[in-house]
């Protein structure tokens, strides 16, 4: 074991250090929109808001893919369902203006029902076959949203739904600017705190699920379905629960997205979105909550940061050789490839995932070390 690793382990065991670290993280998270707004500009606070929405999405997909091992390529459909339910219940489209505490949970519930609808016909499928069916499911939802404007105008078709009510809890409208003790809270900041609260709730639920009976059942199913059934796990219900839980998180995130953005259309829910969320999970470290969060934050902020490539070229070379818009996706794609080459199990792999990939030799040593630690 290298020196810094030993020191890291020592720190992790020290209560005060851990507590201090949490306090620092708390302060950083609390001040983040103000610091970002002052340095990078208000636009970046909005990007952070989106990053939080993607963290929720990625954690939802992590339950399905990371915990239960069910490869889902149509996950964005649940985001779409959540967003549309909220939009239909709180916009001039039907003249309904339900409060958020009714529209959002209903959106999440409907998404969960769709999760079960997707899950039940695919119970016997695994791997590639499941991926193909889920991919089709995602597209079906998008195409339905695109075409359900006739004979009865349910979704307003490709034009999407406009003027969606901003999120408002009792008298607190998140799309207004407040001034408290001389500090100004613009909408992006208000939404940041709302999204942060819900993200923390979802992180908490994810952690609890991981160490629960149901979490162990998911892992067992991922490992060996027949053996899981032999140990008395109701594989059907447990799988459906994974789909439903994942879909619920997606639905919550979708409803928030609709209220935040004020406008949604089927275009926001295409296959690319499903794939990018899957990338967040896989790149960050499938099954590891911290990894998935990191993946989601990186994959939302990094492409935005690459927009500065033009300015960077100008500063270094005095002129722009390649338009940033062209270069951006190239660099982004290369970064993804490089991560997969150098960190095949993700940036922060879960212990289990590291074992799966045969991993680097240190794992055996780590196992020994942790056993040694336990005995001491």
């Amino acid at each position: 074991m290298r020196d810094w690793q030993r020191r890291w382990r020592g720190w992790k065991r020290n209560r005060q250090v851990v507590l201090g670290a949490w306090i620092v993280i708390g302060i950083v998270l609390a001040l983040l929109p103000f610091v970002t707004g002052a340095t990078l500009g208000r636009g970046w606070v909005r990007i952070i808001d989106f990053a939080l929405l993607y963290v929720m999405l990625a954690l939802g997909l992590n339950i399905v893919v990371g915990y239960a091992g069910l490869l889902d390529l149509g996950y964005i459909a649940f985001y779409a369902v959540g967003a549309y339910v909220y939009a239909l219940l709180a916009s001039p489209h039907f003249g309904l203006h339900w409060p958020v505490w009714m529209a959002l949970p209903l959106g999440a519930t409907v998404a969960a029902v769709f999760g079960v609808l997707l899950g039940s016909p695919t119970l016997r499928l695994r791997g590639d076959y499941l991926a193909i069916v889920t991919l089709g499911f995602g597209e079906i939802i998008r195409i339905f949203l695109n075409n359900l404007n006739a004979p009865f105008n349910l979704t307003n078709g490709p034009q999407g739904i406009n003027l969606i009510d901003p999120i408002r809890i009792v008298d607190l409208g998140f799309s207004e600017t407040y001034t408290v003790f001389g500090i100004s809270f613009p909408p992006t900041h208000n939404y940041y705190y709302l999204f942060l609260t819900l993200t923390l709730a979802i992180i908490f639920i994810s952690i609890r699920l991981q160490d629960s009976r149901i979490g162990r059942a998911w892992v067992a199913i991922r490992e060996d379905e027949i053996a899981a059934a032999a140990t008395g796990i109701n594989t059907r219900n447990v799988k459906l629960l994974a789909f439903a839980m994942g879909a619920t998180f997606g639905g919550v995130s979708g409803g928030l997205f609709a209220g935040f953005q004020g406008f949604i259309s089927p275009e926001s829910f295409n296959l690319f979105e499903s794939i990018i969320v899957l990338c967040m999970v896989v790149l960050g470290g499938m099954g590891n909550i911290a990894g998935v969060i990191l993946g989601a934050v990186l994959l939302t902020t990094f492409p935005e940061a690459l927009r500065y490539l033009g300015e960077l070229q100008y500063m270094v070379f005095g002129q722009v050789f390649v338009d940033a818009a062209d270069l951006r996706m190239l660099v982004f794609g290369m970064a993804l490839v490089l991560i997969m080459i150098f960190r095949p199990a993700g940036i922060l792999p879960s212990m289990r995932r590291r074992r799966e990939l045969g991993a680097d030799a240190p794992v055996a040593a780590q196992e020994q070390a942790s056993l040694y630690d336990a005995q001491r």
């Binding site: 059942a217 067992a220 490992e223 060996d224 053996a227 032999a230 140990t231 008395g232 109701n234 799966e356």
Partner: protein
Amino acid sequence: MSRATSSNKQSLLSVRDLRVAYGGVVAVKGIDLEVGRGELVCLIGANGAGKTTTLKALAGMLRPAGGTIRYDGHAITRRRSYELVSLGIALVPEGRGIFGRLSVLENLKLGAYVRRDTLGVSQDLDRGFELFPRLAERRSQIAGTLSGGEQQMLAIARALMSRPRLLLLDEPSMGLAPIMVQRIFGTIRRIAAEGVTLLLVEQNARLALEISRRGYVMESGRVTLADEAAALLANPDVKRAYLGG
């Protein structure tokens, strides 16, 4: 007839005319089986005779095409495996079926999945480690890195974690070195001595009959012989077909 009814009362498992089919292919063509309480019974036969299929049907992993299965006096014919585990029927699947990427301890804890009594589970965990000291040494090792024999021990120990009254063992000797087979069979005998009822499916007919009280011989989906194990060991037909002369 009266003898049959009286044996019915004592039976823990009673199978009548069980038929199991894969699609159109009938693998088990109507068999009768009795396993008394605390009895160790084996089911022997050649490859493809329908032994594993029978066991899977008993464990609720396959739906029977016909017949009845009674366990402890109740019909369980169409129950699913997860219900049967709670009722006290545990299967050690063929090829062991351990969770290869989980640790030994995690595997054992999953074995107790249906149980809610935390205290009892931790007691049984200790008992399992006592029964298989090798597993205790390797409790935090990844199960996939165990030797074949150790994996088989783990599979049995995991099944015991559900505190079964009826343990169904599918080919525990498969792919193991002779010394390991001896050790596994010694353990099976010990489990039986502790009062667990066992139904053992085995290709190694001699070993299975030696530790069993009674045995059934299966041939192409039918039970062709049923007798005391000692009688089967002495039976010239059985000797010729399954015991190598």
